[in-house]
Symmetry: C2
Subunit: 385 residues, 2 copies
């Protein structure tokens, strides 16, 4: 007897973009030409040479590579969230952190509060754990604290899931005052918050904001990732959690995969110690800023009058809302006929989708290709409904 | 509110063996000096060079690297279990396969039938899924099919978990007639069987037996691993399942970690294509055979009269039962004072443990060290109760 699990929207959509002639704004991938291939290859080479080469092919502690935990803790501390190595668990990508948290904290029937729209693989994760997902109202600045308070009182959620900085899919960033208000609500009501922060270092404009965890360190599980600042193929993430929860998460992770790849962790630790990561991230930000600018510049001519879009300060995504009764899933066929792709917005909703929305990713195409792709998209989006 | 999870026996025990003067028979680790470090390092180098280097650092399909799936399928087919690449899902170690199967197939309260004693991280996995674990009686040849039939009728299990070849912790191997009988029972009663086969290629005596999956391909989920024939640090396993279940497992894996490390999979595929794996495994078997022989030879003088032990045809473990009312957990303190370690048997039991049992691993020490370690163990095991 198979449990019912719905088909995976991300996978179905990624299949759309495989034809080489398609300019895809659908994926959420970092740009491969910006990977530090030489640096990462050198790090793997060193990880597999004496004296530690054999140790880096062996089973290893579930908590993760000690050097990697120290380096990540130091970086988090320097970014304003005081963190010790022992506060961290290395995970097999930050996606794994979501599943570990769901397994540790959610009984079937538990309620998870989320932004709407939100990261769809998080929704899938909570649903597989048997949770009920309840959306919290937001605006162009993200979740509204008073709306969260209403949901806390009405639905008694066990967990709040948030991408406070350059959210997927909207690109929105929660301002400092809302972070403080949500942290205070979490502390007052004993609510666990998952602060998912894969994009926070990809900032193209404005000053960094304090992590939500700064204001409620006993109630926030902060997730970070090597995927956007290094490379996603290593499947390396980390979570920062209070000590008692961390002990439980370590046991849950042991059942999940014993530990994350020893060699990938060792290579990442060597790479981070040897690399000026700030300089690498600055290179990424320069390239991605130009791509965002090309997309934002093309939007007025690519969309019908009355369209609104987010203008993100960082991250990977622009979120569009078309005017009228249009369904962007219907328009996708025409877009693919024009060799351009996007993600219809409906699958990012936990409950009632707004079918007039869509997500555009600007990271994997050059400014010129973005301009060309947006020109291909224009007749599709501007067609009379 | 944290879910209750019991402290992890494997982790607590591995901590015992960290003092360098301890000769440890406790771990279940392959011998690091036998890793093909040069071959694996060369494979990582190639995986991170042009033309595919950047692709091997990117996100990748959940199902796994196409070359790796083909190579594993060909090897399984050559070992007698006809398998196509599309029958396989690459997992983050075969430990992950257990969690994926538990998530896909077990509702809270479901019953899982197991050998007793059995692999303790499997027990933990099923318990985390909310399942009730029911042991099936066995003897020195493993699970007794008529006992399984009784459990099927009495407890209606959803799943049977088995390590049919060189089991952990007992080293036992299920004979061909019992495999056929259990496969027939699974087919007749619509029972899912997880056939966990991490050790099957480490055979030191006798002829290979057909996989249980050969007799019931629609009801058996067959798990394999790179950990014992290659290296565990890459966290690479695979599962073979019927098509409908495989589709569900792919979705569950996507929520668990999106996919297994792209670079580790690519390196493993390159390594397997470039290496005479049969020759490498023959080297492993020659070394491990001598280690098993040294341990078996030392047992009569290291144990009190009336002790029984398994004499495994392969794998990593010897299983001892001491005479009388002894508790091997109590003896462990004295063993560690003598700088030798083992795993007390109780934690491998799902229900009523036999406290007079213990597990010895022979793979990580040379024959000479095994002889020395067994001499250290002798006064502990032979002390008057």
């Amino acid at each position: 007897m198979l449990k019912h699990v719905s088909s995976s929207p991300v996978r179905d959509l990624l299949a759309l973009t495989s034809r080489p002639e398609v300019i895809s704004f659908a994926g959420g991938l970092p740009a491969p030409e910006l990977f530090d291939l030489d640096g990462i290859r050198a790090a793997f080479h060193q990880a597999l040479c004496a004296p530690d080469g054999r140790r880096n092919l062996q089973y290893a502690p579930t908590e993760g590579n000690a050097d990697l935990r120290s380096l990540v803790a130091a970086r988090m501390t320097s970014r304003g969230l005081a963190t010790k190595a022992e506060d961290l668990l290395i995970t097999t990508g930050s996606q794994q952190a979501l599943t570990l948290v769901a397994t540790a904290l959610l009984e079937p029937g538990a309620v998870v509060a989320v932004e709407e729209p939100t990261y769809l693989a998080a929704l899938q994760c909570f649903r597989l754990a048997g949770a009920r997902v309840v959306p919290v109202a937001g605006d162009e600045n993200g979740m509204i604290p008073s709306a969260l308070e209403e949901v806390i009182k009405a639905d008694r959620p066990s967990l709040l899931y948030l991408v406070p900085t350059f959210a997927n899919p909207t690109g929105r960033t929660l301002p400092a005052d809302r972070r403080a208000a949500i942290a205070a609500l979490a502390a007052r009501h004993g609510l666990w918050v998952v602060e998912d922060d894969p994009y926070g270092e990809l900032r193209y404009r404005g000053a960094p904001l304090p992590a939500l965890a700064v204001g409620a360190t006993d109630h926030v599980i902060h997730l970070g990732s090597f995927s956007k600042i290094g490379a996603p193929g290593l499947r390396l993430g980390w979570l920062r959690a209070p000590a008692a929860l961390l002990r439980t998460l370590v046991i849950v992770k042991q059942a999940a995969d014993l530990h994350t790849s020893t060699v990938d962790q060792a290579a990442a630790a060597i790479y981070l110690a040897a690399t000026d990561l700030d300089a690498h991230i600055a290179t990424l930000c320069t390239a991605y800023r130009a791509r965002r600018d090309a997309m934002i510049a093309a939007l007025p001519r690519a969309t019908p009058s009355g369209t609104t879009w987010s203008d993100p300060d960082g991250g990977m995504f622009v979120w569009l809302t078309l005017p009228g009764e249009v369904d962007t899933a219907d328009l996708l066929t025409a877009a693919l006929e024009n060799d351009v792709a996007y993600v219809p917005g409906a699958s990012f909703y936990a409950t009632d989708p707004d079918h007039s929305t869509l997500r555009l990713s600007f990271t994997t195409n050059s400014p010129d290709l973005i301009t060309t792709g947006m020109a291909r998209l224009a007749p599709v989006l501007r067609a009379p409904a």
